[in-house]
């Protein structure tokens, strides 16, 4: 287990997530997204981040939370991964939290599918559970492709 303690937190609906704060480059408001036809559904499109073209990934779709309503504009969390820079589309941004390693626990066995691979574990905070996401696994091409495949099957 990596021994980081600071997590950048965010919400998808009412679920509470966190990513290693060192992976986060910046958090920006809604940006105009250029959709990419034929791309996996989790790829919402491309945004222009000060001249750099960054792929925006919808975490809702990746974690199969269900699409957000059209009037709600997502927030971009720009993260640096081993595979490059990506933007994660989330509903709402939370605080940067310092978490205690002792309240960490691996995800329960009942967790399945993509979520199982992405969710590293949970921090049992006083009032709620904070799920941590493994950023480097997130953009694993195979994972995205598989997701596309499963999405097609369900269609």
């Amino acid at each position: 287990m990596a021994d980081y303690h600071q997590l950048c937190t965010f919400f998808l609906e009412d679920r509470f997530f966190g990513v290693d704060v060192e992976k986060v480059q910046e958090v920006i408001r809604y940006q105009v997204v250029t959709p990419v036809p034929l791309a996996p559904p989790v790829v919402r499109g491309l945004i222009n981040l000060r001249g750099q073209i960054v792929t925006a990934i919808d975490l809702r779709r990746l974690l199969q939370v269900g699409d957000r309503q059209d009037d709600r504009r997502p927030i971009n969390i720009v993260v640096q991964t081993r595979q490059g820079t990506f933007s994660l589309l989330v509903d709402r941004i939370g605080d940067v939290l310092e978490v205690d390693q002792s309240c960490f626990e691996r995800p329960p066995d009942t967790l399945e599918g993509i979520a199982r691979e992405l969710i590293q574990g949970t921090y049992k905070l006083q009032d709620q559970l904070l799920l941590t996401i493994n950023i480097d696994k997130l953009f694993n091409l195979a994972l995205l492709n598989r997701h596309r495949a499963t999405a097609k099957k369900t269609e």
């Binding site: 034929l38 073209i53 595979q83 490059g84």
Partner: protein, 811 residues
Amino acid sequence: MDEIIVEFLTESLEGLDQLDNKFVMLEQNPDDRDTLASIFRTVHTIKGTCGFLGFSHLEKLAHAGENLLSLLRDGKLNFTQEIASALLTMLDAVRTMLGEIERTESDGEEGYANLIETLNRLKEGGSATPAPRPEPAAPPSPPPPPEPVNAPPAVNESSAAENADASDAGSELLPPGAVFLLEPVPVPEAKPSDSPSTQQPEPTATPQTPAETGAKPAAQPATQALERTALAPAPERASPVPAPASGGPGIAESSIRVDVPLLDKLMNLVGELVLARNQIVEYTLLQENPQLMAASQRLNLITSELQEGIMRTRMQPISNIWAKFPRIVRDLAVSCGKQVRVEMEGKETELDKSLIEAMKDPLTHLIRNAVDHGVELPAVRHASGKPEEGCLLLRAYHEGGQVHIEIADNGAGINPIKLRNKALEKGLITLERADAMSDQDFRRLIFLAGFSTAEKITNISGRGVGMDVVKTNIEKIGGVIDLESVLGQGTTFKIRIPLTLAIVPALIVTSGSERFAIPQVNLLELIRVTEEQRDAAIEYVHSNPVYRLRGKLLPIVYLNHELGLTATAKVLNIVVLQAGQHQLGLVVDQINDTQEIVVKPLDKVLQDIPVFAGATIMGDGRVALILDILGIAQQARILSDSHDQNVAAQLRQAQEREAEIQTLLLVRSPGNGRLAIPLAPVSRLEEFESSHVESAGDVDVVQYRGQILPLVRLKNVLSASYSSDRLARTETGAFNTALLQVIVFGDGARRIGLVVDEIIDIVQDVFETKGRATRVGVVGTLVIQGRVTELFDVQSFLQRMMPLLALAEEA
């Protein structure tokens, strides 16, 4: 002048300029090993390069200097003023010779035998004072004749222009006075006439006394120059020599070396600037402000010029890669017993550096193929009435914003029947399909993976990996390759590649309310069909839409349909495009305008979508996708390549059925055996100079890409009595070769280098282990190229090296 010599001169002159400073530093602090080592390296480099280039006089001199320096560096000699003077004189001599090379491309007649002698004597620990010499011509007795005092200035005047550089530099680098007053170092050099061929013209100049030596180093090159002119006035030297002082700046001044990353950065910035310019021009058109308009037009012009200028800095003539080809062809021709002549046209054709790099391997491959397969043996050629010497013609030219490269041989040509039979034999095509294919289609089969018609696999070509790689590599940089062949007359490969990759003109279209960019290289024409004519214009061949363009049927592709978007337009806008050898009409909703766009690569996640070549940022700051026309054509199955691809897929399956092809690196193992190392885990092959090897504890290491790379010798890895912690140095002492061949495993912070004696070859084939392992570090034995070869056990090697890796990290 040869590119390589120019490079050598620039590099050496730069190195010498630094050396001047370093010597001064050294004199203040004689024990500074680092400075000494760096001086040593510079001299060593000069020596090595000029040996390679054939400047033997210069090499000898630098070698003498290097010997002396190496003793100093190792602390076997102390740095004295005497030595300093000798070394500085050597630098001046090197500088003079470099000047001579710049002017005449030869290092001159002057051997500096005396100087070398002095350096050697100093190396033995002797003094610079010359041993008594048989010639009494230079008596150290001081009868100071009046002339010598005047001589140097006179000499300087007479050839001032020519030697301005050398003498200036000479006087500049003199550390304040003292050095040269003390020792009569230059006395022997005053007579550069040791070599029997040159006889000193003015004995008056020779008998110099220590008293005047202060002026010596400056005067010395001048004296030689005078001697040369006086003695052997070669015809070209009789005419006024273009002297550095008058005829334009020398090489050192007229060019500077710039890091490629810096150029890349500038290129990126210019790309951004182009985008910003596009934005401003767009907004300006909306405002009705003449002043703003004028300013924006100016900005427009300047940006274009800047863009062009920056692009030119990255442009290199194609002769940079071609220069190596005559040699490759010669060697190959000799080994195949053929006679091949290379001709080149358009050597000066320029293209972007990154493209030059990318074209190197494909071109080399094509050339090897042409010599190996194309050109016939002299006897065969003679029999068919052709001259025995085959000809390989390389042509390059610019046309339509692209670079065209052609490689033509006048050999046997490609026999389509042979290809057809081979393809049938391998089960790649069915008989019916073969009947439907044209000769040209058959010839294009050579671009398929795993397809080879060579009867016999040689170590040059014939393994069937190659042409497909050539094709993929060329397509990767946006290029196209095709071939023409006439049986019995030869084959021509035609390659078209873009001038540069970064900024391309493009047509912007709209489809399904999104904008897309189409690179203009693909664009042929635009057709607009009104709503009324629309239904009549599009006809159907079986259910495939076509349009009659000047009597020919043009297959139609709807972009909306291909991308899964909804159409909005009522009129029909057809963009006629060239995709490989085929044309297609792409129907889009709206045609906007043309723009210079900056190509940015797509993320890995999106790279497997074939229809996009990249993305760009438009004037309004939004992102637009760039269409890959070949990709669209393939997706729409316009290209006949699509059935080629089916063939390729079948072929791939066939291969998978057989066994996995392995790539092995063949090296010489200790005891003159052969050892094969799987190439997959190898990250790089490197060469290190053994002088760069340092040690960390018991481990030999080198500095490599800003990290410390532990080195292990193959001999030790294979020895049964190894102990993992002392593995790196079971045999102490220096490496016995100057250049170490190192195989680097691993990546990032965890790298390890395996030192081998010799890398023999890289082989790719299906290998089966034939025998059992006979020693540590080996998995088994197999037969490669008809010889028994041991297979290296990479897994266990890396495992055994773990402690060493950790060690390196700590270090």
